[in-house]
Amino acid sequence: MFKKAKDNVEYLISLFLSIFAALLIGALIMLLNGQNPIVGYKALVLGAFGSKYKIATTFAKTVPLILTGLATAISFMSGIFNIGGEGQLYLGAFAAAYIGFTFTNLPVFIAIILAIIASALIGGLYAYFPAVLRVKYEIDEVITTIMLNSVAILFTNYLVNYPFQAAQGKMGGTDMIAEAFKFPKLVKLSKLNTSIFYTAIIAIIIYYLIKKTPFGYNFRIVGENGVFAKYAGINTKRYMILAMVISGALCGIAGAFEVYGVHYRFLQNISKGYAFDGMLVALIVKNNPVGIILMSIFFAMLKTGSNSMEVATGIPSELILVIQSIIILFIAGENGFKKLFKEYRLKRGKLVK
């Protein structure tokens, strides 16, 4: 027990050290710019949590981060790398919007279920092909999925500008979905809507799948040592494809939620790189589902707060990107921290033999 606990504690310490160091460097940059970092960070935190509206905005931002983060986790832990979340999100969003503005007479409940299923299907299908190419022909899925992002984004751009152009002249967007299908807002004027509950349910399911079921165990072993998994009788190819499809489906659903909860239509730039942010989140917390939720909140805080910070203090919101990158950089150096720990313990004479 203690060994595992020790590993986790060490990881948490290095994570917090990384975040702290990143914030410190951010503060240094503010100082160099002649601004007071205490004022800046205060504005950041207040901007993210200072009022009911602000808290709602922050939490609204966690929805796509959590979904794409979980999507990344399940594929990366299985040893197959879905970098195509952005494309899957666009296609999923479009499919959901299509159902929303085409079948406007359907009962609300059925329409929403249908939209979610359609987005998951199309997202999953779009991930299925690169997965099969990888498993059957060893074509690198990192490259194919990255390229398929562009295909999906440009294809949906075409769709919204030509065949599905909005009736009322708005460029780069489809028609609105039926009024009744829109997810209700939880806080007035904010973007926080009921999709956060659906997201919570999905997160619980994925957590259960990864942590408690033999399937999750198999995903993990396939990712850790595929030869071992194969030797023990696991159909590694099937698991890798399945992981990729689940990952794509989650990204597709993230797209559907953006349509039904935030924009009420498909827009040609509906995602601002959510899937890539989700990937960062998952990487930082090493695919841990609970960690993904917490880190998503932290990232959402940085995003929401940085705008208020810019308005209040004039510190450019891009600084937050610097902080994010530095955290990643430090986490990548986690082994360095581990070595430090080891040497420290060595010095203290706690490591015998």
Binding site: K4, N225, E343
Partner: protein, 509 residues
Amino acid sequence: MSERIIELKNVSKQFPSVLANDNISLHINKGEIYAIVGENGAGKSTLMKTMYGLHEPTSGEVYIKGEKIKSFSPSNSIKRGIGMVHQHFMLVPSFTIAENIVLGSEPRSKRIFSDKKKAVDIVKSLSRTYGLEVDPNAKIQDVSVGIQQRVEILKTLYKGADILILDEPTAVLTPQETEELFKVIKRLVNELDKTVIIITHKLNEVLTISDRVAVMRQGKLVDVVNTREVNEKILAELMVGREVLLEDIDKPEIKGEEVVRVKDLVVKDNRGFDALKGVSFHINKGEILGVAGIEGNGQSELTEALAGMRKIEVGHVFIKGIDATGFNPKKIRELGVAHIPEDRLVTGLSKVSSITDNILMGSQFKEEFCKNKLHLKRDKIRDYAKKLIKKFDVRTPSEDVKVGSLSGGNMQKVVIAREFSFNTEILLISQPTRGVDIGAIEFIHDQIIKKRNEGCAILLISAELDEIFRLSDRIITLYEGKVTGEFKNGEITKNEIGYYMTGNRKEQV
């Protein structure tokens, strides 16, 4: 004879988590054959690397030919006349023997061009002087392992070594090649005044070749003894620190029906060449069939094919009368086959997972550990892991420890614990004790025999002839993908079997 050619004074080497050498003082005399023995992880290699200058000791002093070493580097050591033959040869396969020997300090013509003819002459004269016959123009890839080792030795002699360090020199040799090597070593020492340090874990060889033996255990020098005054049993006890009983094995005769039949098996290796060229044999219930052979003669491909991990091109495998040709690993396992793979880290374990998760593999959908094939019963799994850890004597502080942090022997015990606990009738066992210390070897052998006595049909592949002879009921020899001989254990000596392992038939014995 009493000149101290190498002397270590209170040498310690601390690695981040291990004290590999703990205050070691010893001396090696000029003109002696000095053996260093110890279990894996006892610190032999570290000590040897310190002598060769590959790393600097944390504390202590090293003297070579009476001179204190200040800067540790292999090139300095070579200048001082130390040569080392690594366990894994450092040769260029596509170069000729002569080119390999002079590599790095080639004779020049007109100061620029390397002079191949002169290199050949040099190698010929070296060969004559030291009695190490080689063909200078043969390419490394075309000569046997034994010759390659000669080339390595010649290489060090060419660089002017008068102290030779040999790291596990006999690990890859047949008994005949080992005998040849020992003759060479004796000649180098007795007639040419060289000093040889030999690192090994084969005690019988230590007794034949060395003058003195240093025994290491857990980083400490336990004792230095005169070889004449000890026997194998005493050395083993010094190494392990307790009594070792590698002698008595109880193998009651079991008359069982045939369980496995392999017919005309043809299997390709990773490069697409035929690794097995029509191999046939059978295994009965309660029988251990040993496969003797030098590594790389199709053994790996044979186990992989039987385990369903490698495609069978031609031929058939029958398990319990069922044609299992082309079955995947899952189907093979469902027939009651368990498998100890030759490389536990690549195939047999996930080293970043806990011991528990490694033991769970293969049982994760069993009702005992998984409710409705959906919910893992973590408590039950933990208890099971604890039980196996105890039963198979895995030395670990906890079942949550990552397998990668265990020693080789304990990792192997985890694999064996898992595979031997399935309800098996057939066991494929490959290199069960590779990199495992003597204490664990004893235990693993006992477990294998226990399985045999319970009626398992066992295929045992091992590069250690001693192991094959100790455990097997029947032995087949594999050479270049073909079965070259089949014997009842006891019908043939180790020496005789060596000829079959190199493809030479009985007439040459």
